[in-house]
Amino acid sequence: MGLSAAAPLWGPPGLLLTIALHPALSLRPAKASAPPHRDYCVLGAGPAGLQMAYFLQRAGRDYAVFERAPEPGSFFTRYPRHRKLISINKRYTGKVNAEFNLRHDWNSLLSHDPRLLFRHYSRAYFPDAGDMVRYLRDFADRLRLHVLYNTTIAHVTLDKDPRAWNGHYFILTDQKGQAYRCSVLLVATGLSVPNQVDFPGSEYAEGYESVSMDPMDFVGQNVLILGRGNSAFETAENIFDVTNFIHMLSRSRVRLSWATHYVGDLRAINNGLLDTYQLKSLDGLLESDLTNLALVKDREGRFHVTLKYLLEETNQTADAITLPQDDNDNFAMRDAYDRVIRCLGWNFDFSIFNKSLRLSSGGEFSKKYPLVKASYESKGSRGLFVLGTASHSVDYRKSAGGFIHGFRYTVRAVHRLLEHRHHGVPWPSTEHPITQLTSSIVRRVNEASGLYQMFTVLADVVLLKEGATAFEYLEEFPMQMLAQLETITGRSAKHGLFVINMEYGRNFSGPDKDVFFYDRSVGHIEDAWQSNFLHPVIYYYRHLPTEQEVRFRPADWPLPRPTAIHHIVEDFLTDWTAPVGHILPLRRFLENCLDTDLRSFYAESCFLFALTRQKQPPFCQQGYLRMQGLVGNERLRQHGVESGLLRDYAAVGKHRKDSTRQPRDREPTGRPRAPEPPAQAFNHDKEEL
């Protein structure tokens, strides 16, 4: 593979088109040989790049993916070093709903081809990284995605041009000096630069990326590991049965993913060392800022931990160096180490982007990521989007946007945004009569994977039509962009909206939280707002919130203060279809927001209403009066009479002066009838006669 293979992709059609569209080009000598053009250029053929390629391809867009390696997913050919992916591959859920099952499939990309599900590639719950490579290769091949392999984009610059979609083109230059011109740049290069911390002696540390994986190399050694993420623990896990001890040093306390509900934190599968530490087996965890540290090598080649400022005081040879234990003879790290291993994660590679792109790193907590808006578009240059792991600044330590099972959905959101921005295709939506509102929401909260994985990042939006007789349902919108919803989606939000989100309980998740406390689970409907586990939360706004309102929302709130809010009580089985526990309270919430009655009625009830009231409930209007009433059968009618919700009219005539109570109960504003048995009511009437 090489340029020859790529040539057909970059062949004349694109060139001709460009020239045909811009005959003026020849008037600009500097651009006489305009580089080949693509509407969309994707950097990187990892999971995110391929996922975007898939959507572009399905939409019939002009795009290409640039990949420096000869095959997709090159990160996975080397990492994780110990080859075990910690993204779960749950093949059995007891359900056949494909969308639901994606909630427990953290490795598959989205496609229409059921063969491209990861469960066909591995039987392991924590699969081998090699299977991921194989999967990605198949994904690219089967779907015939346009990927230029062995093409290393070495430099990206901006070329201002008022005719360009975004006022500028992105000019990509590869290792051979070949340039490509792109209207939209989609950066899916992941995090590829090992994170290094600079301190005296840091050169003695071996990197995770190159350290030996053979445990025999560590027999009888004292090992110091810098870092406390999954790579650090994964490394420790590999060797801790042959070392004398392992000390792990990092700035912050250990964060357990089952306590934080963040999959990037330490997973139980890697936490063997925590077990041995807490069971007094010589291994241990220490907290200190690495930048204050210094490593000193002694004559035997062993490493001593000291502090930077001690080193600065005296500039002496190794033997004479002041060590912390000189003053504090019980200093924890006074033993010499045979090896020091650095496992500090990765950073985004900013180096290829020209300054004019103004692609800067995020804030203090996410400096390893480029800074992007909640729409994944760079704050620095319009038309540049960051996808995949590199886009995790949006939900770092919160949701799953840095991982396949999360970013496969955010990539789709970006694609939908682009479809509207550049091709006039509004955000996909379905329109329904208002009577379907409860069902639409129930359906999504029970099966949608995007909502479930990307909780508090992507949310479904219900846009009400005038008079609230109908609504549009939009899926998986980046909720922080709510204020810009109309521009992004091309849909109108003039008449109020609902936002359907999934949330953990406030104050439930955190590194120091006991998530197993007694009474952690909520069962009563009226306590639903205190639910701790992931559960659906529905926000109602009479008006689309403004940017200001979104930005200055109350702390801990994913969205501005709504007009009303509803929590569907958490469910142990994540099955929110209980008629009274889940659906009824949801209906009441929707009814009260919309100030209408959303109950369903049998045709007979609608018939009665049609002849005894001037206004009809929405269900009768949209069903019965259009000759699509729900007839029901005798069995159901019987249940209705027993429940007191239906009347046995055949029996009415036998008791002349029947209670006037019943018809009143059916009034729209009336409350449900008192469940008194009808027989009793009739007896009462007899007495009156």
Partner: protein, 785 residues
Amino acid sequence: MMSSSFSACRVGFSFVMMNIFYKSVGDSLPELSPQKYFNTLQPGKASLAYFCQANSPSPSIFLEELNEAVKPLQNYGISVAKVNCVKEETSRYCGKEKDLMKAYLFRGNVLLREFPTDTLFDVNAIVAHVLFALLFNEVKYITTLEDLQNMENALKGKADIAFSYVRAVGTPEHRAVMEAAFVYGTTYQFVLTTEIALLESIGFQNFAAFWFSFFAYTEVAEDPQQVSTVHLQLGLPLVFIVSQQATYEADRRTAEWVAWRLLGKAGVLLLMRDSLAVDIPQHTNVIFKREERVPVEFLVLHDIDLIVSHVENNMHIEEIQEGEDEDHDMEDPDIDIQDDEVAETVHRDRKRQLPLELTVELTEETFNATVMASDSIVLFYAGWQAVSMAFLQSYIDVAIKLKDTPTMLLTRVNCADWSGVCTKHNVTEFPVVKMYKEGGNPVSYAGMLGTEDLLKFIQLNRISCPVNITSVQEAEEYLSGELYQDLLSYSRGPVLGLFSPTMTTAKEDFTEAGNYLRGCVITGIYSEEDVLILSNKYAATLPALLLARHKGGKIESIPLANTHAEDIVQIIKNAFLETFPEITVENLPTYLRLQKPLLILFSDGSIIPQYKKAILTLVKEKHLDSLTPCWLNLKNTPVGRGILQAYFDTLPPLPLLVVVNLHSGGQVFAFPSDQAISEQNLLLWLKKLEAGLESHITILPAQEWKPPLPAYDFLSMMEAAASRHSARKGPEYMKETGVQESDEEQHEDKSAIRKELTETLRIKHWNRSNWFKEAEKSSRHDKEL
């Protein structure tokens, strides 16, 4: 001066009967606390209250008498109560000393008079004194002849004087006079004296005996708008029975009965139309006056029950609402109780095993292969969605009915499982039924979600639509119903389109229309060379449409030149609308689309032929063009009783004719039940109706459909919790802000954390195996509440 003694005696007899009757009902004296009592007082209504010390031995004889007086006073709209003065609640009406308890008479919450208990020595005294106090203006008490002469002079030419003598106030005679004054107070100026000398001086001897009996109603001959009686002052409405010379005797009887029925609820007057200066609508027989200065209502009510129920309904509104409010306070309606009839009935039926095996369950894998391989009906439903589960039952019922007749493959997809399949087939709402036939585009079923209509749809889809008819003979068989005889029971039709072979566009339009109507109308198409044979025979100009409304009936032709498919659909649909249909749950929407008021004949069983004939004649003579005439058979459509109840409150005798103006105003008019349903009467009535001379019996409520119950307000719960949280965080700040508050806050503060914990204890645990603990906790919680 007064009526003959004969009628007086008879009425007197009735009076006694009524007393017996009411005693048996046994209304007892309500006992209330002062606060509660004052809350019950209604503006304009009179009330007698006896205030007594709760712990003191009551003067039991007085209470017995007071108890006796409850009912008679209630007949005048006066309520009676015993008010217990308890320590916690003192009232200025509660005397300081035990023996100084008094009874008080209020109008609204204005004190009119106080009575020492000894003046109210028995039931007659109570009634007499209370009425005497209330009728202060109507009954003047005099002691001298001079007083009487002054009165006579003042009233000369204005009103007659009814002079009465009683031995003493509080006697049965006094009561009788007061009760008479209550009724006649507006007609005569009553004068009362206890001075026998005065009586002797004007020459009467045995006066009181005459007064002992009286009419329950009054006759008047003045503008009802101007009439005012004690009733109105007491907050009771007036009912005028409109009478004329010819019907006077009957009307008097009516008035009497109405008066008895409405005793204590309304005043009844007999209004003489003949001697009346003002105009009242010609057919009005009852006039209802709710309050002073409120326009009177002119009504046509044909029996006493209707009059009574009209009055009761009109005055009950307040009371019922009050009752409801009380209920609200006492027990909040439980918002956790299902009030959706479909959801509830489906839920109650959840344990029933449906014979689902009669239909084929499709999956992602089998869907396409199945619907391609055989003509199939597919029901898309969701297991958790009540409406679609209710319909699934009907669907299975269809499968049971079709078990032995192979027609189409009945299949179903549960979209809760196979949501991908459903989305792919554009199904995002439930339930949806589609028919996949001959590999063509699926047809969505748009009929009623019930067994019958779906069955019809399936049966009719056995033939193509429209059917291609190939010979004149076949066409005749088709029109006569011999062809497709088995299907005709399911359908309307047959409809035959006639085209000459060259009319391609017209044929296309007709085919499209036929396709659209598939499943409800059988359509056929004939366009052979010899089509003229048919068009000549049925006098049709090509292109045309022939249709037979009923089997073997006359065949009509409708020209179709330049008619688009949608219009053809409409033409066919309209052609099958009946002129006087039996209205049913299934067909009402079709007729409502006409947007005309409905003329409904309610019938308990089949319709009486002569009524039908009368209405059909009027239809034929085009008198009913502005209405949709129809009839309702309560045997087939029992819910009709619910409708009648909404119109009449009590079920009236049937048959019964009403006009319901559903689309503008919601008025319901009832054809007079004492008139025969004949063409002439009906026509006359409709004319009057049109002229606005008839009054409605009711107006259908026009309320919007609001949320039946409130929802949990999680937003305020969250915000309350948040503010509690922040309050706990900054106690210093709290101290600074307000002394009173911070005291409370601090008290709450300490317990707040514990309270929050116990609050979360209300949470039910999935892993809680100890049910005793759970029960114990919840009962403890109940006590806390």
